[in-house]
Subunit: 208 residues, 2 copies
C-alpha cells in the first residue's frame, strides 16, 4: 500500500554542498531536526555506489520512520526498496516511471509551469516539486517561478506541492498561507555546520 | 518467455567512437552486416535522452529480429521494453538486477576472473562478457584477460560467453575453437566507414 507522506520538510541531498562529515551522518542529523522526507540525489557515481549509498541511507530513514525518495534512477529505487522516485523533466517520463515502478511507490515530478504540473498529475505523480523559486547555485539552467505562477499551479492541481530552489530561513515564511505542502531544501540544511538546528529552524518557520 | 539469443556478433554502441552519421543509422548498418545482438551504451546523457534513443534503436533491432540489451540502466531497459540489460562489476549486482527485471529478460555481466564468472552464473546471469582480451582505448582501467584465463572461465561456467576488449579483424580468429559463443566489439564495427562490411568480415572470421 502506498505510504502517506508528510511533505513539510523535504531534504534533497548533495554531497558537493556538504560542509563536513559523511552523507549518512548528515541525513541522521537532518531527520533528528524534523526533516520529514529525504531525497537521495547522486549524479557522479557508479550504479553500485548509488545502490550502496541508498541502502545505508535507508537504514537511517527507516529508523526515523521517514520516507526515502531516489532521484532519477527508478532501478536504484526498486533495488534499494526505497519509498519512491523523483524525476525531473529530463528524466524518464512520469507515466513510464509509474508503469515500471508500480502503483504502490511514490512518484514525484519537478515542474515549473502549470502545464508541466497538470501533466505530472495526469501521469500519476503523487506530488510535484515546483521551482526554482529563487536563484540557486545547486542547479544549472534553473527557471525561476514567481509566487503568482506558484498560486496558479496550486489552483491547477490537487496533489501535494513542495517548493524548491534557493529556499532558506530568510525567505521560507513567504510560503505560509500559499497552500503548498512543504519546503524542499538542499543547502539550507546540508551545508550548515549544525544540520539538526537548521532543519528545526525551517520547520519552525514553515507552518503550511 | 525468455528470448533465445545468438551471441555470434555482439555490438556495443559508443557514440564517441563513431566516424560518421547517427547512432540509429550505424545500428541499422551493423545488423544488415550480420550483427546478432546490440547493446546500447550511453554514459553521458539524461535519462530522457537514453530512453528516447533506446526506443529509436529498438525499432531497428525489432525490424531485424535482433535483441536489444541496455547497458547498466535496468530502468531504461524496462521503460523501453528492451530484451535485457548488461551490468559491469560497478553497476547493480546481478542478483539484484534479476530480482527487479524479472525472470524473462536477459541479464549479462562483465567478468574478468573465474570467481566473477561463477558468481555471475550463480546470480542468474544469462551470459557473461569476458575481457578485456586486448588493450583497448574504449574502457579505462581495463584488466587484461589471457587466453589461459579465458579457457579456465569457459570450463567454470555453462552459460554463453562473449569476449570483449580490443577484438578486431586481425585477432578475431584466435577465438575459433575456444568454446566461446561470440565476439563483442565496439570500434571494430562502429568506427569503420563501412559498418555493414566490417560486421560481415567479423562474422566470416569467427566460426565459434
Amino acid at each position: 500500500m502506498k505510504r502517506k507522506i508528510d511533505y513539510t520538510l523535504y531534504l534533497c541531498t548533495d554531497r558537493g554542498l556538504m560542509s563536513t562529515g559523511n552523507l549518512e551522518d548528515a541525513v541522521e542529523q537532518a531527520v533528528r531536526g524534523g526533516t520529514t522526507v529525504v531525497q537521495l540525489r547522486e549524479k557522479d557515481c557508479s550504479s553500485a555506489e548509488f545502490y550502496e549509498t541508498a541502502r545505508k541511507v535507508k537504514k537511517i530513514t527507516d529508523a526515523a520512520n521517514v520516507p526515502l525518495i531516489i532521484n532519477d534512477r527508478v532501478d536504484i529505487a526498486l533495488a534499494a526498496d526505497a519509498d519512491g522516485v523523483h524525476v525531473g523533466q529530463s528524466d524518464l517520463p512520469a507515466a513510464v516511471v509509474r508503469k515500471i515502478i508500480g502503483p504502490d511507490k511514490i512518484v514525484g515530478v519537478s515542474t515549473a509551469t502549470v502545464e508541466e504540473a497538470v501533466k505530472a498529475q495526469e501521469d500519476g505523480a503523487d506530488y510535484i516539486g515546483v521551482g526554482a523559486m529563487f536563484a540557486t547555485g545547486t542547479k544549472q539552467n534553473t527557471r525561476a517561478v514567481s509566487m503568482e505562477r506558484l498560486a496558479e499551479i496550486r489552483k491547477a492541481v490537487d496533489i501535494p506541492i513542495v517548493v524548491i530552489g534557493g529556499i532558506n530561513e530568510t525567505n521560507a515564511a513567504q510560503f505560509n498561507g500559499t497552500g503548498i505542502n512543504g519546503l524542499a531544501v538542499v543547502s539550507a540544511i546540508i551545508s550548515k555546520p549544525d544540520i539538526t538546528a537548521a532543519a528545526g529552524t525551517l520547520r519552525d518557520i514553515f507552518q503550511g
